[in-house]
Subunit: 184 residues, 4 copies
């Protein structure tokens, strides 16, 4: 068992970078007619909506990560590994975001892109559950005085992945409907 | 109420990354005639001026953020959320910067680009006001011994957004005038 | 001799950024026929496998770095320099990753790309050995009460570089075989 | 006067990101003949040498920054501003690095690129001198017990900028000579 300081610092770094890299996929339109910039940008709404949705999803996941680690008092190697799996999901998010921004309006590809996008968030919610399940079932991770708080959080997060199941089902029918659902 | 340590660390990360990513939009000119590099670079002055303006704007916002959080003693979920909104603005800045660098000299698009650029800074100044208003009006956020200091800061920042209103008005007439105003 | 705090913070930053930048080389396919996105993505498996392999290699190296610095109690200039050499390797990883993703299937170039990829990891394992050798042989770096732990780690890591020698030998025959070996 | 903690954290972030972003300008060659990858990469030696030179320059500057801030005990607004100027230089480095990598071998442009590259480092060395001069001449920045150490550092760094003057003079005659001088 080790203290959580450097795991939190490393995780914060990855969250902060991933959330900031999202802007690199918001592309400046290159060939624009005179006085036409405003119109061209408005047409790019899926790019902006995908950016915002991913930004707030990473932001909320950072807040949850933060909350879990105010309760987790010590980490072992397995927990560091599970945390790494979670960070894999976080660093991955810019890719499905760019995929959705590019292909939401190319014929027949919107549903594939939305499916990958929604599945990413679903898998991450599952990773969160696994990490939290391990933390709450391993002796020494959670200090005794915080166990009540931990149980409260378990009840709160239990249904989290279901939100993304709805989005995945929507993606099968329409990429746009899926994105709008996730952005809320 | 939680301590502010990890919120500051995450915010510092986002500020540091956003300010460093700005350089990615300072593009190396690819096709340059023999001995012509100096001239080509001089022609790209809007790109360099936009880079510098955004750099110092993020830098000053970081200094202000730093100053506010030396007074803020504890955060609740709403404050973490408002801080996330502020960070959304910070991560967004590279996009209008690149937009302005690319379109300051494409006919009829300079004013649109400058308007988006100046509006970004205006909205961020408003986000700062909201965060600070919430912090000063919520019990437990600011320790009693720092309340006098907090009131001093409120008076200092009150007119901040006005600076950007001037820039927005200038943008309606000329993109270049707007950028020069903001760079001062 | 100085305390290790800021060296760890700087290293954590570099590890976190390098691991997150990997996603920038996972490119969104641009020209895709209607309904063909899924198929196009499946064909890009070397890109995804190279991403995953590099992600977990950096992740494991961060865990090792973390472990070594729980034992290292103080750093001198030489140790900071050796750590910088290690970080050079970490920042370098996105390049051979992209090289392998691009050229694993261009005729006759897969082995060159795999050789550079595997050699990068081999050189980094050697850098780790040098840093650790210096740390364990310099008075004042490792506190007396942790010397037993340090000897345990020395025995554990001794054969680390050999893993990559196998990958290098495989690269001489087949780029794909080398990548699959490293991904395990 | 404030404590230096968050200024150091922000600076570490910027240094870590700038040093890691350098790899983004090491481009994977796209169109390579069968079995020709090795040869193509060898021809790109200016790209690799510029990467290494910039990496170690940022690395050494980080070590110097680190050293100065072990002596600096408190910062005022002016010092935070001077530090921001230094960070501007650090975030700027990827641009002249890419410029040199691209134009070291385009006819007649190598000297312009090398001049901008060497001048960047010269200006940064001057920024370091200004920051340090301010720190050593402002009451309250350096604790009394560290003044002797501070004077020692002043003597050590006095001639630092001269190194880059030599590189600038070389750049006037040959870009390659300048880069080789800086890489040592």
């Amino acid at each position: 068992m080790n203290e959580t300081g450097r795991v939190e610092a490393f995780s914060d770094g990855v969250f902060a970078i991933a959330i900031t890299l999202l802007i690199l996929d918001v592309k400046v339109p290159a060939s624009v007619g005179p006085g036409n910039l405003g119109g061209v940008l408005l047409e790019e709404w899926p790019m902006f909506l995908a950016f915002l949705t991913s930004f707030f999803t990473i932001g909320v996941m950072w807040m949850n990560h933060h909350r879990l680690f105010t309760i987790i008092g010590a980490v072992d190697d397995a927990l560091v590994g599970l945390n790494l799996l979670l960070l894999l999901g976080i660093t991955w998010i810019p890719f499905p975001t760019a995929l959705l921004a590019t292909h939401l309006r190319t014929t027949g590809n919107d549903r594939t892109a939305a499916l990958i996008y929604a599945s990413t968030f679903f898998v991450m919610a599952i990773f969160f559950q696994i990490l939290w399940h391990y933390a709450t079932h391993t002796a020494g991770v959670i200090p005794t005085e915080k166990e009540e708080h931990a149980r409260h959080i378990t009840r709160q997060y239990m249904w989290g992945p279901l939100f993304y199941v709805v989005a995945i089902v929507l993606a099968i029918f329409s990429g746009t409907a899926c994105l709008i659902r996730l952005s809320k």
